[in-house]
Amino acid sequence: MSLRRTAATAWRVLRQLRRDPRTLALMMLVPLVLMALLRYMFNDDRTVFDRIAPELIGLFPFVLMFVVTSVAMLRERSSGTLERLLATPVAKLDILLGYALAFAATALVQVGLVLALVLGPLQVTVRGSLLLIVVFAVLDALLGAGLGLCFSALARTEFQAVQLMPALVFPQALLSGLFVPRSAMIPPLQGLANALPLTYAVDGITRAASSTAFGTELLKDLLVVLLCWPLALLVGALTLRRRTP
């Protein structure tokens, strides 16, 4: 592990992202458009939007970073640059952390834009802590990037990588209680939801949005997400093989 190599990798990934303004624009604008869309879909009943807005603030960076990371990693694999990097003294974690840092920075901007929209024109009032919301949203992005790194190893083509999202992210998002509260789910689904990290990520941000109190429940959510992220990175590191058949 080396700070220099990690930072160089993060800069390189950010620079590549900047060279792709279309992707960048989609990453930043799609959450805003979806947010506005949902706000006016629930125009008659503001309470619904007030309830799901914080969840979405946490969900968007997770989903987006998952997709972007799994595709970026796949590209690195198939272009041969990963093989070349792994033939240098670089540590696998330098590469993974470099990606994570770059995408966390991107997520920070995205979360800022979404928050500005939600708190400004969409007039959602947040009773909780804004700082904690941002912290959770960025952690969600890191978790998404970490899981994307892990699962990109399952994909051989970009088509497969894109399919990973409906296969792995949608179920987690549904089970986290976005449409149906978890308490209303049948017990096996509740059990499954409790085993998935996104559940805690979404719960955490909802709690952070609803009150300024920093209770044990919130602490648990924070710890689960904080532990799952390095775990995802470690599993990701295992999928990077220096020697291939």
């Binding site: 220099r4 190599r5 930072a7 160089a8 990798t9 800069w11 390189r12 620079r15 590549q16 060279r19 792709d20 272009s79 041969g80 640059t81 093989e83 070349r84 990097l85 792994l86 033939a87 240098t88 003294p89 670089v90 330098d94 220096r242 020697r243 291939t244 058949p245």
Partner: protein, 239 residues
């Protein structure tokens, strides 16, 4: 003796077939070696084993005194993959600057490496907008950055015009004269006359390993293409 490459009984199975079968190869430091053979002979596979990115079935591979692929070896080996492995969305200079930080070499090496592959005029251009031969030179430049004692170059001259090819072969010869060991694969036999030593690979086996002049003399062929045919025919003679 100071060996840059020491391969003993190397066997690599790929896709269920042995594609490198019991190869022995010992190369003293400071040698320019050509690795030749038809498509599918196992050149890339052997080079990957030297770099330490190929899973091997049997044998041992030591480079510059370290087991291939070990952290010690990774500091000392420069590798150019057959398909150029660089970032198309970055400029030539940005690609090299990134690999320079990864390799821990000073930024001044970036301009020097660009010069060595004659890409000064394109340093600020995006690699994705370059011609194929230019991209492969960017890939080559990244391997030159750290001036490693062992350079493994997989077909670095493919798709280049004769003038540039000549320039690159002079560069390889100069690097070898300065003490680096340079292993270059190619399937153009004629290029290989610039090598001090030729290793002919066929179906995963070394079928000849000698200096170009010695090979020509032994086979009484007029050129290296003819010499290779001669070697293969001799192998296929019964008894």
């Amino acid at each position: 003796m100071n060996y840059a490459v020491e391969v003993r009984g190397l066997t690599v199975v790929r896709g269920g077939r042995p594609v490198v079968a019991g190869v022995d190869l010992v190369v003293p430091a400071g040698t320019l070696v050509g690795l030749l053979g038809p498509s599918g002979a196992g050149k890339t596979t052997l080079m990957r084993a030297l770099v330490g990115v190929q899973r091997i079935s049997a044998g041992s591979v030591t480079v510059v005194g370290h087991p291939a692929g070990s952290p010690g070896a990774r500091h000392l080996v420069g590798y150019v993959t057959q398909a150029p492995a660089v970032y198309g969305d970055l400029t030539v200079r940005e690609n090299l600057a990134y690999f320079a930080s990864i390799l821990g070499v000073s930024g001044s090496r970036v301009a020097a490496a660009i010069r060595e592959v004659s890409l000064e005029g394109r340093a600020g251009d995006r690699v994705g907008n370059l011609a194929g031969g230019e991209v492969s030179r960017v890939s080559l430049a990244t391997a030159l950055l750290a001036s490693p004692p062992l350079l493994i170059l997989d077909e670095p001259t493919v798709g280049l015009d004769p003038l540039l090819r000549e320039d690159l072969w002079s560069l390889f010869a100069r690097l070898a004269a300065e003490g680096s060991t340079v292993l270059v694969s190619s399937h153009v036999m004629d290029e290989a006359r610039r090598c001090q030593r030729l290793v002919l690979l066929r179906a995963g086996r070394v079928v000849a390993d000698e200096a170009p002049a010695a090979l020509l003399q032994r086979t009484r062929a007029s050129d290296l293409d003819g010499a290779f045919l001669q070697v293969v025919r001799q192998l296929e003679l019964p008894g």
